[in-house]
């Protein structure tokens, strides 16, 4: 029997704002009731992250840590990396370039090659690829 629960990967939506967070939070309730939850947030498609999104991330982290679990971030988009670095929230999380790396990291420390950047430099690397002309908050939501 596996003594540890399996890793849950949650793909976040393109916009992590007040509206999306409410729906996402409801979907997380069951996960947050687990013992020692091991969660990876896939940021691959996140292009918009506002204060509600940051608040959501910190609440999730707090709830998961209280249950002796771990929350890791993976595949940060340049926009998300920029917001997390500016707000200095990113340092509270372990960040990985891919979801696969994040999932594997629960079981073993991944050795870095000498020329690879530090994991926390992924923020910088992602931020540098993000052109200033792009809208930091991503495309505007479609009017319904």
């Amino acid at each position: 029997m596996d003594p540890y629960p399996s890793v849950v990967v949650k793909s976040l939506t393109a916009r992590l704002d007040r509206n999306q967070v409410a729906a996402f939070r409801r979907g997380m309730q069951e996960l947050l009731r687990m013992d020692q939850p091991r969660v990876v947030f896939d940021f691959g498609s996140v292009t918009h992250l506002d204060s509600a999104g940051i608040d959501f991330l910190l609440n999730c982290l707090s709830a998961i840590v209280k249950r002796d679990g771990e929350l890791k971030l993976a595949a940060l988009s340049p926009q998300a990396a920029t917001v997390l670095e500016i707000t200095r929230v990113g340092r509270f999380f372990e960040v990985f370039p891919t979801v696969k790396d994040a999932v594997q990291s629960f079981d073993a420390c991944l050795p870095n090659t000498p020329n690879s950047p530090e994991p926390w430099d992924l923020f910088r690397a992602a931020s540098e690829t993000h052109r200033p002309s792009e809208d930091l908050t991503g495309p505007a939501p479609q009017q319904t």
Binding site: V65, E70, R91, F92, F93, E94, S105, F106, D107, A108, C109, L110, P111, N112, T113, P114, E118, P119, W120
Partner: protein, 390 residues
């Protein structure tokens, strides 16, 4: 073939002669951090000097000699080195070269036909077999070692024809050809700047070099020494290291390659990011320490290459005014007590821990030491207590 090694802990061997050829091999004076060479500082549970020696042992180098400047004789890293099977000799600074040559002679007598002479200032992982093959093939008495950044403060000596282990001449003659240099391709860190020290800690935590933290890997990438105390609400984000007898209080976050050495304390709700906290350091509550090396009340920002000394002990300071807390060390270091109790030192110091002797209570001993020499009163720094962010 047996290869010996002589580590030199002090100024460069040839620094008494301005145009010495030894200067070429030991180009820099020993870099100093907080008044001590980098090799004396602790890194992930042990002094870097021991890491250098460990690396040489792994390469099957022996016998090992450590020639240390007298001024380092009392340092714990030199005093406690016996378990590493190293012959230690403390000499005055001006006799380093003579003592090194004497050690080489002893090395030769014990059967080593080649020896490595290195300044104990940089951390390197040597490929001794390849280095030796290069040295033997070149047929030269001295092979300096360099990497892409220049000389590494290391050379291999040994003359196949004469069988002598001889340091290079102080003055290189014009007619003498320049020796071939061996290019080191393994891991090397010169430890010449605070940034180098941080880099070595990061490289060790990220397993880019062979240094392994002294502690248990409690979760992937997080090493904690057995006697460390972590509050249930303290968070340690991988990769990080927490040393022995260190205490993390509630709400503390340790993150991004931070190493906190032994006997430190991080007070409530402080965040330590990408930093090295040297032994016996206290970090106050609600601080944000980032990209820094902190040693008691002194802090170096590695990105700005600046050092500040903070007099407000509620911000950063020392967890203990004494380097060691054993009663005997307490007595040895406490000058007022020593003067007062020349004959009955031991009995009375031990009785200090009995409740019915108010004069010799631990508190009074601690006070006398603090006031006399451990931590002299610092001048007020303007605005030092205003900011909670370091």
């Amino acid at each position: 073939m047996q290869v010996g090694a002589v580590l030199v802990l002090g100024g460069c061997i040839g620094n008494d002669v301005s145009q010495s050829s030894a200067r070429k091999y030991f180009p820099q004076p020993l870099p100093s951090f907080f008044g001590a060479p980098a090799a004396m500082l602790d890194l992930l549970g042990e002094p870097i000097l021991y890491r250098i020696i460990e690396s040489l042992h792994k390469s099957r180098v022996g016998p090992l000699f450590l020639i240390a400047d007298d001024i380092f004789a009392g340092h714990a890293a030199v005093k406690d080195i016996s378990r590493w099977r190293v012959h230690v000799r403390n000499v005055p600074g001006e006799e380093l070269r003579t003592a090194t040559q004497a050690a080489l002679t002893t090395c030769r007598e014990s059967g080593a036909r080649t020896a490595i002479v290195m300044q104990a200032s940089a951390y390197m992982e040597l490929d001794v077999a390849e280095m030796l093959a290069f040295h033997v093939a070149s047929g030269q008495p001295v092979t300096p070692v360099q990497d892409r950044g220049g000389p590494l403060g290391l050379m291999m000596v040994g003359n196949e024809s004469t069988g002598q282990l001889q340091l290079p001449e102080r003055r290189a003659s014009q007619s003498q050809p320049m020796p071939l240099e061996y290019t080191h391709r393994q891991y090397a860190n010169r430890l010449s700047t605070p940034l180098d020290l941080r880099r070595l800690a990061q490289d060790a935590l990220l397993q880019r070099c062979s240094i392994r933290p002294n502690g248990k890997e409690v979760k992937p990438g997080v090493w904690v020494a057995p006697s460390a105390r972590l509050h249930a609400r303290a968070r340690v984000v991988s990769p990080s290291y927490i040393g022995a007898h260190t205490r993390l209080r509630s709400g503390v976050v340790i993150t991004r390659g931070t190493n906190i050495e032994h006997h430190c304390e991080v007070d409530r709700s402080s965040v330590v990011e990408n930093a090295t906290i040297l032994p016996h350091t206290y970090l106050g509550s609600s601080l944000d320490i980032a990209h820094s090396i902190v040693n008691r009340n002194r802090m170096v920002d590695v990105r700005r290459a600046t050092e500040v000394e903070i007099s407000d002990r509620s911000l950063i300071g020392s967890t203990s005014p004494l380097p060691t807390t054993t009663p005997s060390a307490l007595a040895a270091k406490s000058l007022p007590l020593k003067d007062r109790l020349p004959r009955r030192t031991l009995s009375e110091v031990y009785s200090a821990f009995l409740p019915k002797r108010p004069f010799l209570s631990p508190a009074s001993m601690r006070f006398s030491y603090t006031a006399s020499e451990a931590e002299p009163e610092l001048g007020e720094l303007p605005g030092a207590g205003d900011s909670r962010t370091a």
